[in-house]
Amino acid sequence: SAEPPPVTPSSLCKPRRLYISFSDVGWENWIIAPQGYLANYCLGECPFPLTAELNSTNHAILQTMVHSLDPEGTPQPCCVPVRLSPISILYYDNSDNVVLRHYEDMVVDECGC
């Protein structure tokens, strides 16, 4: 089987920067704070052999092994968020009350396979 192309560190599964700016979507007249926030996203490969820092499950280790033996049959594991954190948004509601709302799982802190 063909040697898999060398995996450069930048193509490995990890969080990538994604900044959400509320003024870009015209929400600045009702959102008081923050003006925007770093949501990030996960992108990258989960190649064989899966190294420790890739935050992988045992199943992902198995799946990469099968993928390396049978690339057409079994895909590589996916690169997904494994640790997220909440954010708080201060905004005006339709009755001009000030609302502070906490939202879970809005920021990707860590990715894994």
């Binding site: 979507v25 929400w27 007249n29 009702w30 008081i32 704070a33 923050p34 954190s85 909440p86 708080s88 948004i89 201060l90 905004y91 005006y92 509601d93 339709n94 009755s95 001009d96 009350n97 000030v98 609302v99 502070l100 709302r101 906490h102 939202y103 879970e104 799982d105 920021v107 802190d109």
Partner: protein, 230 residues
């Protein structure tokens, strides 16, 4: 963008994009909580559960401060010792169906602390009643079946007085209609009162306004995350 926007708003628990008419000041209690959470590192355990308000130790992921929409009540000749009588009304109808109310705290704000001199007599008394239909029609009088919620006397007026009204607010949400509250502040009826004359009410001039802080838990948003957490 409108489709994406409405989907994003929906995921944020909003049925429509708010369009506030006025941009009032942000209550400092909300600003403090917001800043505290913002400065905590995302890995911090103190960040706790976004479905719990650590500051009040109650479940909840939405905190609102409702401005009072009531008005001062001037009916006929006020009783001798009355300093202030006001109807308080907070429009809780903005709460979404799936929100469970977990706490309501009334704050009565004064512009400054006041320390009346001892010669000014006994101090003041504050009473808070649930408003009734009768009270809305005519002169509110405790004997007209208004339920007394809070009765307190105080000498020094601090910048704000805070009362827990969770029971009343939950009741407004489940059983009874929200007819608001009646706030009465009178000079103390102690023997010093007679010497007071109208002087006993002077410290009430620093009365500013009242607001109701309400914490609710959006079951839909918090149940999903609790399931994931399990």
């Amino acid at each position: 963008l409108s489709l994406q926007e409405s989907l994003l708003l929906k995921s944020l628990g909003l049925s429509t994009k708010p369009s506030p008419k006025t941009h009032g000041p942000v209550p400092c209690v909300l600003w403090r909580i917001f800043q505290r959470r913002k400065t905590l590192p995302s890995t911090s355990k103190d960040l706790g559960d976004a479905c719990r308000v650590e500051e009040f130790n109650v479940p909840g992921n939405i905190i609102r401060v409702f401005a009072d929409q009531g008005h001062f009540i001037h009916n006929g000749q006020p009783p001798r010792l009355l300093c202030l009588r006001k109807r308080l009304y907070f429009n809780l109808s903005v709460l979404e169906e799936d929100e469970r109310l977990t706490m309501a705290q009334l704050e009565i704000k004064f512009s400054h602390n006041s320390y009346p001199s001892p010669s000014q007599g006994q101090g003041l008394e504050l009473r808070l009643y649930r408003s009734s239909r009768l009270a809305l029609q005519g002169t509110p009088a405790p004997e007209r079946g208004q339920k007394l919620l809070v009765e307190r006397s105080f000498v020094q007026l601090h910048k704000s007085l805070v009362f827990d009204l969770s029971g009343v607010a939950k009741d407004w949400r489940t059983h009874s209609r929200n007819l608001g509250l009646i706030l009465e502040i009178t000079e103390s009826s102690g023997d010093g009162a007679s010497a007071l004359g109208s002087g006993g009410c002077t410290s009430i001039n620093s009365f500013l306004d009242t607001s109701l802080l309400v914490v609710t838990l959006s079951q839909q948003q918090c149940r999903a995350s609790r399931r994931r957490r399990r």
